[in-house]
């Protein structure tokens, strides 16, 4: 068989060596790191924060956000958010794919909308109808069976129109009649005269249709915890999918208030931070940092997430991956020759005490050892 010439045949170092044992070094490393981690765990533990924010109640470690927590601590926010979910006026309702068919909502670059392409391939994979999934369906299932008033209110509301199909566009979720009721009630809720408790709402009389009864029932099922069971459950199986609840909660303002108070808001380097003084995902500095770049206009850029995602693919993935072959980037170690410090002992032991200056673009050196360092003379 003809011998192929390999570009990089297996090579062996023929210069100075020193004793070493791979197994010993690996074992020592595992023991040392394990002890360090046990020490750090004993001294500092790990973060398991709850829902703390100025003016908020004491929160047990590890507490998650829930509809019950929301209702107890900010029933006004829950009520106003629920009204907007019925009206199709929330962030979730207008999100576009993969949650709904709202047109023109997904982010784009040079006319390309990756979320729309994904929808064309996979379909609408996480369909949400905010009016039905967050308000009408749970109220119908949890409150209406035991309350003829609520059942009648839901029937009256549904009879007034609106598209309650999964993933309906934001603009079709409520009919004109429903929008009249909802807009009137939203103004009443925002008025200073509105009074809230976790289970009741008092506003001035007005043309609200069945909306106050439905929103009152929403607060009631949030307060008794059954709304959380509904949002985290499933009609058929046990569920580990927390998407519906998370999307509903994030449409409110309490959600963001807690995040900002804990220093994990988007304008606070977001997901890179951890609670209190714990180190977080520091390695996401590039990702979190891009959301702070003024040139990307973070406060008023509808395509910010897509811009950051693409920049991350470019600078966080492709650039480091192919750095050795990118002209200029691969010269940085020559311009900032830290290797001379790292290898100073080795270079000092060589004849002349200096590293041979050979640029990567120059022809490769001869494969035979130089006369100054014959293999047989190498210290073993």
């Amino acid at each position: 068989m003809a011998t192929r010439t390999k570009r990089h045949p297996l090579r062996t170092w023929q210069g100075p060596e020193r004793p070493y044992d791979l197994i010993t070094e690996g074992t020592i490393a595992v023991i040392v790191v394990a002890l360090l981690c046990i020490l750090a765990a004993s001294l500092w533990g790990s973060p398991d924060g709850g829902l703390t924010y100025p003016g908020g109640p004491k929160s047990p470690a590890g507490q998650a956000f829930s509809a019950r927590y929301w209702d107890v601590n900010d029933p006004s926010d829950l009520a106003q958010t629920a009204v907007q979910e019925l009206a199709g006026g929330t962030t979730t309702a207008g999100y576009g794919p993969p949650f709904n068919q709202t047109a023109g909502a997904s982010q784009e670059i040079i006319g390309i909308r990756p979320a729309e392409i994904a929808k064309a391939i996979f379909g609408l994979t996480l369909p949400i109808n905010t009016a039905s999934d967050f308000v009408l369906a749970p109220v119908s299932q949890l409150a209406a069976p035991s309350s003829p008033v609520v059942a009648a209110a839901v029937s009256l509301y549904k009879a007034a129109g609106g598209d309650l199909s999964p993933g309906a566009p934001a603009g079709q979720v409520a009919s004109a009649q429903q929008m009249t009721w909802l807009n009137n009630y939203a103004k009443a809720l925002a008025a200073s005269s509105a009074k809230f408790t976790p289970t009741s709402i008092t506003v001035k009389a007005g043309n609200y249709g069945p909306v106050p009864v439905i929103i009152g029932a929403e607060l009631a099922i949030a307060n008794n915890g059954s709304l959380d069971g509904y949002l985290q459950g499933s009609q058929q199986q046990l569920s580990t999918n927390t998407t519906p609840g998370t999307m509903f909660f994030s449409d409110g303002t309490l959600w963001e208030t807690i995040a900002e108070a804990q220093g994990v808001g988007g304008d606070q380097w977001g997901v890179m931070n951890e609670l209190w003084n714990f180190p977080g995902q520091v390695w996401l500095w590039l990702y979190a940092g891009m959301y702070q770049i003024p040139a990307l206009n973070p406060s008023n850029n509808a395509n910010l997430d897509l811009d950051v995602g693409l920049l991350m693919i470019l600078f966080g993935f492709l650039l480091p991956m192919f750095a050795p072959w990118i002209p200029g980037i691969n010269r940085i170690p020559r311009w900032i020759p830290l290797y001379k410090i790292i290898y100073r002992k080795y270079y000092a032991s060589m004849p002349g005490g200096q590293p041979p200056a050979r640029a990567p673009s120059e022809p490769a050196p001869p494969t035979a050892p130089p006369s100054g360092a014959p293999p047989s003379a190498a210290p073993r």
Binding site: G15, W44, T240, W283, L306, L338, P369
Partner: protein
């Protein structure tokens, strides 16, 4: 069965002799389990790779204990909480060591001498480590994980990935963290370590000539 010579041709019908020869040729035992190393590997910076690997091992073991207890048990069980703390700090240690390892290899141009794939698998391991730790933050079953998932979904959705990878689906993220990204990471790290054993670490710039092809080696006296 004949001993492998390293020159066996590839055959789809009988690939084993070729694979045997490939392994013998590229992964001789003296490279896999060495008891000597080049003298220039005397800097503490060269321990960063093995320390990263050690931290990964601690993370996998502590993570396996947490996973065995169930996704939420660490909130209510003091042993689980302690394991979670070890897991947390091992990941922090791993990224610290990995960052120094990464920067060192960039400034020593560790890709020289046919070590391009070693560099590429190293960067891949770094990116997979980020994805793995990220999915770990998504399955803490507390407010923190809710917030991280809700925030991160926007970039994934904007790129179209969110249609099949939903940050807010705790069940999917448990699979992603405990099985998928970890398995991928361990595979890539295995390839990375294998390539390092095969090629060794790059010699100091200017000393490349002291790396001699196998077929040009001068026989060494047995010590």
């Amino acid at each position: 069965m004949a001993n492998a010579t390293g020159a066996e041709p590839f055959s789809l019908a009988r690939p084993s002799p070729w694979l045997r020869g490939y392994l013998v040729r590229n992964y001789p035992l003296r490279k896999l389990l060495p008891d000597r190393e080049p003298a220039y590997v005397s800097s503490v910076l060269y321990t960063m790779g093995v320390l990263t690997l050690a931290a990964l091992i601690v993370a996998v073991i502590s993570g396996a204990v947490i996973a065995l207890g169930g996704v939420s048990f660490w909130h209510t069980n003091s042993f689980g909480a302690f394991m979670n703390s070890i897991h947390f700090w091992s990941v922090q240690a791993m990224f610290l060591f990995m960052a120094v390892h990464f920067i060192t290899n960039f400034f020593t141009m560790g890709w020289r001498g046919g070590r391009g794939w070693t560099w590429i698998t190293g960067v891949l391991a770094f990116i997979l480590s980020i994805l793995t730790s990220f999915t770990g933050f998504l399955i803490m079953t507390n407010w923190d994980s809710q917030w991280v998932g809700q925030q991160a979904k926007d970039a994934f959705n904007a790129l179209g990935i969110g249609a099949i990878w939903n940050m807010m689906d705790a069940g999917q993220q448990i699979t992603m963290h405990v099985v998928f990204t970890t398995a991928l990471l361990l595979f890539i790290v295995s390839v990375h370590v294998g390539l390092i054993r095969r090629r060794g670490v790059a010699p100091p710039p200017g000393a490349e000539a002291l790396e001699v092809p196998e077929d040009q080696l001068t026989p060494q006296p047995t010590t």
